[in-house]
């Protein structure tokens, strides 16, 4: 599909937006003004829905154990590669489309959940009672470990999802071109987010999670299995991340082991902008970051995209550290 793509020599510089830019270049052809703006909006919302999924994972884990799980973005990468392995190496793409897609989503989600549980049990659990610094450094180490292990397994090269798996056709809504893939991916994201909200607001386990976000000891005294709920949060976070990883693969086609770094950063930014611990906030934050990125790329230049995103992060934290929609985390003294 997209033929050229340059990766800066430093692995970490990988820009997720390379094919994004291409799409925008496509969109620019001929259309100006309002049409152009709407076109960027469509792209921004699609990408934003991926960010929102990862941000949701950040927010759930942070809400419960106050840990920025730096590995969250890298879990997306793991999910993307698991999906790729299934579709390409195992030849799932020869199955009927809907079946292939279901497997390509469900298996990576489960696999990544297992990975994240292992991380929790092995690395974070022993440190939960220790200093914040120790656990943050460990989380950072985990992110590095995931990246480099993925490089070891899947290699440093860029891999491609089957390009013709999904139809590249779409339709015009006025001047705006919307592809079926965009619609489908945004729909799946919304579905997952909706399921998550229903789960957390509507079920007993979800209520236990919210209780834990306020006070661990009190929750324990009420008979809540605190360790079990923490594990559940890690499973949910990983599943959301993996789903977004597979979606990224399907949307951008090309994936590389470094894609988690910037994805994670942008998603974290989204979670903070929405107010950490705040679930609707994380979703809105993800959409905002997606839009911001799309408009910056379209109107300014893709080169400045991350400068703008981080500039917004720093500004929000200075002006309103609790995020635009208010955080839902009990204050510690």
């Amino acid at each position: 599909m997209e033929a050229t793509c340059t990766i800066p020599a430093s692995g970490h510089g990988l820009s997720l937006g390379w094919s994004h830019k291409h799409r925008i270049a496509e969109a620019k052809g001929g259309k100006k003004g309002m049409g152009e703006f709407l076109q960027y909006t469509v792209i921004g919302l699609t990408v934003g829905s991926f960010y929102a999924l990862v941000a949701l994972g950040y927010t759930i884990v942070y809400g419960i154990i106050r840990l920025i799980n730096f590995a969250q973005g890298d879990l997306s990468m793991v999910g993307a590669f698991l999906g790729w392995t299934l579709l390409v190496s195992f030849g799932l793409d020869r199955l009927p489309l809907y079946l292939a897609l279901i497997i390509a989503f469900v298996v990576p989600m489960l696999g990544t959940a297992v990975v994240n549980l292992g991380i929790l049990q092995f690395a974070y659990k022993p440190l939960l009672k220790r200093s914040l610094l120790a656990i943050l450094i460990t989380a950072l180490g985990m992110s590095l470990l995931l990246q480099n292990t993925a490089e070891l397994i899947w290699g440093p090269r860029i891999e491609a999802y089957p390009p013709n798996l999904l139809p590249s056709t779409g339709f015009f809504m006025g001047p705006v071109h919307v592809t079926y893939v965009q619609i489908a991916l945004a729909f799946v994201s919304l579905l997952l987010m909706g399921a998550m909200v229903l789960f957390i607001q509507g079920t007993t386990v979800g209520t236990a999670m919210r209780a834990l976000a306020v006070d661990h000891d009190a929750a324990r005294l009420m008979g809540i299995n605190v360790d079990g709920v923490i594990r559940l949060a890690f499973v949910l976070g990983a599943m959301l991340a993996a789903a977004s990883g597979v979606m990224l693969g399907l949307y951008y086609v090309q994936i590389q082991f470094t894609l988690g770094f910037l994805l994670g950063l942008r998603a974290f930014t989204a979670a903070v902008i929405g107010g950490i611990g705040n679930i609707p906030g994380a979703m809105a934050g993800g959409m905002l970051i997606g839009l911001l990125e799309s408009y910056t790329t379209g109107y300014l230049s893709g080169k400045w995209k991350d400068v703008i995103v981080f500039g917004v992060l720093i500004t929000v934290l200075i002006v309103k550290p609790t995020g635009l929609f208010g955080e839902r985390v009990a204050e510690r003294m």
């Binding site: 656990i135 180490g141 985990m142 590095l144 720093i314």
Partner: protein, 634 residues
């Protein structure tokens, strides 16, 4: 093992040398050891080894800078490469575009990085430490991308052909030259870092790491100290960057990625967070390991990731841990007779008070005399959600009296203290101290205005010795400047000795001189409260607020406490106290205020309060409250 081999001549020499070294001052040791290492590497003459040595020195310098931020101030900085980049680009641009001498570019490189650190740090250092980690990470990426997009600085190609440094006509162009310069910079960095660690700044940083809220409340300007560490660390990064640029001769944005920030973090985590020799060990591992284990060089990040996690889990103190000096209280100070101590404190305190009063009078402010209002609380309201914790409270505290605030639990007493000390900002109302409003000031500013406090739940610095806790209380009264601390000048030394002397006097004042060297947590509950009192007094306050000082004390200890409170009043310090022990409050207070559900229901002399029907109702009218309260008080 060394001892077992002590007969062996080599071992004997080693032990003797080690002991001799340990007796030398730190700066001599640094110069001797770095000189010896440098000499042997240069004598070896292998260019490759020397080149590795230069890299180790560069990483060690970066590590020392980051160590001030992470190790001393406890702030996780994940964008440290940004400072390295700003320093490198500043120096390289000045050398290539303006043809400056390398050494002339250094001050500007340091100045620019320091400015960048201050601009980023000032608004963001108030944030939670985990947010700060992300903000710094973002800053690192922004800086790299900006250089990458900046055409004047060569864009992605960077700056090429950076000239060699010229040192008074001598061109430094061999690895050996750079090694010498690198070691010299490293030695300076180590000596400065060591001096800072053992100055009042170091003490302030430890206090902030342990309990930022308590540190701020006893007068440590926490934001300023954090900013200082951040800017300081950034400046070292800038210096290292300038050195790196001229040594490599060409820089581009890929030299300053997130990966570099992480590598420098790994240097200090491996070596031991906060440990100076640890930084060198860490730099050796990070630079030399991929050189030695060539076949694993491609996998070095994987290995580092495993090491990073493994260290945190198994050996969080690092390979060469920071050794906390065994505190020697009052080492080298002459003995003082205990009767003298009380006199000295009295004299010293009176001098301080008079000086303050004179200053205030000179500034045209009215100085409250004995018996006049020192603290005026007027219509103060504090609200949490729908709950009015303090509801329109008005009273005055007169200079020189002991004033108690009593009332059932949840009456708003501690909230009122928090409003007075600047921990919370009242919703409405005025609070004036010495005739000046203190509403909206940061807690440490209020301490320096002359209000000290203790806490309901004890908040001592647990990893510090008792006398160090009191020395933290003396923080606002230091006169030393930072540069003096860095150079460990005679002025700074005198100031430290004076601080030590005074902390001893205050400990003597509360009767704890004999346990000065113990860790604060080793003391009994009652003694910990007395340490808190000494820490609050050390700042020479005009007014002290004691929040339930008698909680958890037995009758004998309470009796002693009454004695201490009276002694404090006799120094001329006004005392405001919250307590539940009626007999203590009635015995010691000149006047009493009663708060119930945030409302002031009575104020007056102890005898009047005992007769007041409202007070009796608040306390005795609802018997179940009293029972609960006693249960909680115990």
């Amino acid at each position: 093992m060394i001892d077992r081999l002590a007969n062996h001549r080599v071992a004997r020499t080693y032990v003797a040398t080690r002991d001799q070294l340990a007796r030398l001052p730190f700066w001599v040791r640094v110069i001797v050891i770095l000189g010896a290492v440098g000499g042997s590497v240069l004598a070896n003459g292998d260019d490759y080894v020397t080149a590795v040595g230069v890299s180790v020195a560069t990483y060690a310098m970066l590590g020392l800078g980051l160590n001030i931020v992470v190790g001393y101030a406890g702030l996780l900085d994940l964008g440290y490469a940004a400072f390295f980049a700003i320093g490198a680009y500043t120096s390289a641009l000045l050398m290539t575009q303006a043809h400056w001498n390398f050494f002339a570019t250094l001050p500007l490189a340091v100045l620019f990085t320091g400015t960048a650190g201050a601009i980023l740090g000032y608004p963001t250092l108030r944030l939670r430490s985990d947010y700060l980690a992300i903000v710094t990470l973002g800053f690192g990426e922004m800086t790299r991308i900006t250089f990458n997009n900046w055409d004047y600085a060569g864009g992605p190609n960077g700056i090429l052909q950076i000239p060699w440094p010229n040192f008074f006509g001598y061109e430094l162009n061999t690895q050996g030259d750079f090694f010498i310069v690198g070691l010299a910079l490293l030695a300076v960095a180590m000596i400065f870092a060591q001096n800072l660690d053992h100055s009042r700044l170091g003490r302030g940083w430890v206090a902030i790491r342990e309990d930022e809220f308590a540190a701020e409340s006893v007068g440590v300007p926490s934001l300023r100290l954090k900013l200082f560490a951040y800017v300081m660390g950034g400046m070292w990064g800038g210096l290292a960057g300038a050195f790196f640029a001229t040594r490599i001769g060409a820089i581009d944005p890929t030299s300053f990625t997130f990966q570099l920030s992480v590598l420098v973090l790994i240097v200090i985590v491996l070596g031991g967070i906060g440990s100076l020799p640890g930084v060198i060990v860490g730099a050796l591992v990070v630079v030399a390991m991929p050189e030695v284990l060539r076949e694993f060089a491609d996998r070095r990040l994987l290995i580092f990731a495993v090491l990073l996690i493994g260290m945190m889990l198994v050996r969080p103190q690092g390979l060469w841990p920071r050794i906390r000096r065994k505190p020697k209280p009052f080492y080298g100070l002459e003995e003082e007779e205990s009767e003298d101590v009380a006199d000295k404190i009295l004299r010293e305190h009176q001098v301080q008070m008079e000086e303050r009063d004179r200053r205030h009078a000179a500034a045209g402010r009215q100085v409250p005399q004995r018996g006049e209002a020192l603290l005026e609380v007027e219509g103060v309201v504090q609200q949490f959600g729908g709950l009015r914790a303090v509801d329109n409270v008005t009273f005055e505290v007169y200079r020189g009296e002991i004033f108690s605030i009593i009332g059932p639990n949840g009456g708003g007493k501690t909230t009122l203290f928090n409003c007075i000390t600047g921990v919370q900002k009242p919703k409405r109302g005025k609070i004036r101290f010495d005739g000046r409003s203190v509403v909206g000031l940061r807690p440490h500013v209020i301490v320096s205005r002359g209000i000290g406090r203790t806490f309901q739940g004890i908040r001592l610095f647990k990893q510090m010795a008792v006398f160090e806790n009191v020395m933290v209380g003396l923080y606002p009264r230091h006169r030393t400047m930072t540069w003096q601390a860095m150079l460990h000048t005679p002025g700074e030394r005198n100031d430290e000795v004076r601080t030590l002397q005074e902390s001893r006097r205050w400990l003597g004042f509360v009767g704890l001189e004999s346990v000065a060297g113990r860790l604060a947590t080793e003391l009994s509950y009652a003694d910990q409260r007395r340490v808190e009192i000494a820490r609050a007094l050390a700042a020479h306050p005009h007014l002290v607020l004691f929040d339930e000082p008698a909680a958890g004390m037995n009758p004998t200890e309470k009796l002693e406490l009454v004695g201490i409170i009276r002694k404090i009043r006799d120094l001329g310090i006004t005392v405001v106290l919250i307590d539940h022990d009626m007999s203590l409050v009635m015995r010691v207070s000149d006047r009493i205020a009663v708060l119930d559900h945030g409302v002031l229901i009575a104020i007056g002399k102890p005898a009047e309060i005992q007769q007041n029907p409202l007070v009796i109702e608040a306390y005795l009218g609802r018997e179940e409250d009293l029972v609960e309260e006693q249960a909680e008080g115990a």
